[in-house]
Symmetry: C2
Subunit: 305 residues, 2 copies
């Protein structure tokens, strides 16, 4: 069974536009690079379909009826709308326009992330960026639910659905209270602190930053006796400030300085941490590529100061 044809297609509108502008079937056909009879037929079919007379046919000069004039306006608007839609869709597909939803862990705000965002906004002003800070667990969930396009996690999100690209690798530093006795004996090794309480964050989901720190301890042959877990680095630093123990944080966090806390380099330890850019493997939007590109370029530059 054949479906009923609406017959008001764009081709007919273009034909109509040509005739309405030339007010002469022969010349319009010429302009459309076609013969006159099929053009006449198409216009007649258009009139039939619309159940309206569009042209007053008199030999010397054909004229638009009022209905024809109205259609002329509508047709022009539609042709314009089509072109606009075409451009819009194309730009979005190319990743030059659209929206990118980025989530990130709080500790990323001390490193290159602000520069990355600025650089991205400058390069792709037509892409609207939405930014939300969350912990690794939330990042993972949002990415799976497609509520985010990109998650900036530390160290990464372990999921078959997710592609994880390392990004901004840096050493770890020790965070301790600025009244701590440790301050007197720099450089410090982790092993020398094994009796102190270790403030770690977060525990879940694996791999977590806590795993990175514990691995660094293992490398020095011990496991901290007392472990305090919290949700994020901000809480961890607060706990350190009030003397709850020591913590280990990325150097970029230490560089920013925090009230009541001192950051010390770790001796004899090459443990490092890195952020990662994470996105769903099945997300083919070019915006992600665009973001990753900017990030890569930014990392190539010698780190400023």
């Amino acid at each position: 069974m054949q479906r009923k044809e609406p017959a008001l297609n764009l081709k007919r509108l273009e034909y109509f536009l040509a005739v309405a502008e030339e007010l002469h079937f022969g010349r319009a056909a010429e302009r459309l690079e076609m013969a006159q009879p099929p053009l006449s037929r198409q216009i007649m079919q258009l009139e039939e379909e619309l159940d309206a007379t569009l042209f007053d046919r008199g030999r010397g000069q054909i004229r638009l009826t009022q209905a024809g004039e109205a259609l002329l306006g509508h047709a022009r608007a539609m042709v314009f709308a089509i072109e606009e839609a075409r451009r819009d869709v194309r730009l979005i597909d190319q990743g030059a326009k659209g929206r990118l939803r980025v989530g990130f862990v709080g500790s990323a705000t001390h490193g290159v992330l602000p520069n990355l965002i600025k650089s991205f906004r400058r390069t792709y002003p037509e892409i609207s960026l939405s930014l939300s800070a969350m912990n690794n667990a939330q990042l993972h969930r949002s990415l799976i639910r497609r509520e985010l396009d990109i998650a900036i996690a530390r160290p990464g999100l372990d999921d078959a659905e997710i592609k994880s690209l390392p990004f901004q690798e840096e050493p770890l530093v020790l965070a301790c209270s600025d009244t701590a006795e440790i301050l007197t004996r720099a450089p410090v090794t982790l092993a020398s602190l094994q009796d102190m309480p270790f403030v770690l964050y977060p525990e879940q989901p694996r791999p977590s930053f806590a795993d990175t720190v514990l691995a660094a301890c293992s490398a020095e042959g011990f496991t901290p006796e007392r472990k305090v877990f919290c949700m994020d680095y901000q809480t961890a630093i607060s706990l350190v400030a009030v003397g709850e123990g020591v913590s280990v944080v990325p150097r970029s966090v230490g560089n920013s300085g925090h009230q009541g806390v001192r950051f010390l380099p770790l001796a004899n330890n090459d443990a490092r941490t890195s952020l990662s850019i994470n996105y769903r493997i099945d997300n083919r939007e070019r915006h992600i590529l665009r973001f990753a590109e900017i990030a890569r370029k930014l990392m190539l530059k010698p780190p400023a100061a």
Copy 2:
């Protein structure tokens, strides 16, 4: 030679809408009452034509890409615009919407014209009426140039291009100064005034109202000795008021009353005058029919008071 196909036709947009709404080719095909393979092909061709990926094909559920979402918005707007254009054109063609340019002689304003306009506006509120007062010569010229759709003339416009429908027939009355001696000897015959100057209007184009009056004189067996021509009835009445002579006007003009002028019935004379609705014979717009219809209905009513 075949013309390059734009291929972004409305059918494809409708197919796209169905798939975008169902997010399932099979169900969309069912809804469109067609088979799935041609639908898949049409969508692929649409993607190719736009040079953009519109759907993320994963087995469980297909999803719209950002480009697809953008197209969805544009497509909905376009389908809506099409429907609107269709309605608009149809209504205008039916004569239920649009514009009607009416010109009329000044003397028409004393008769049914005001009621006709009111009635028309009430019946077709969607038709925008433009009204202009002019003399017969201007009416004729504007109609020929297609600057007017309808001309209300007295008695009519004589042109092979113009169709003229009589309208509001009425007797003639005499206009004389209110100080005239004639007032003492009513009823008056035209013949009894043959020595007075006759104020006539206008002379051109033929047939003019002046012709009507002169014909009435002929019927009584004389031709006025002294004739004064002017452009319109307003001037004629002013001339009568200042004693330049007598004039003959349609009764409706006399009914309105004018400073310094008296109107008297004519005895033994069945001369009548009528307005006419005039329009180009090649003007097929239904608006004219609508106007004529209202006029006819109005004339059928027993003349109020």
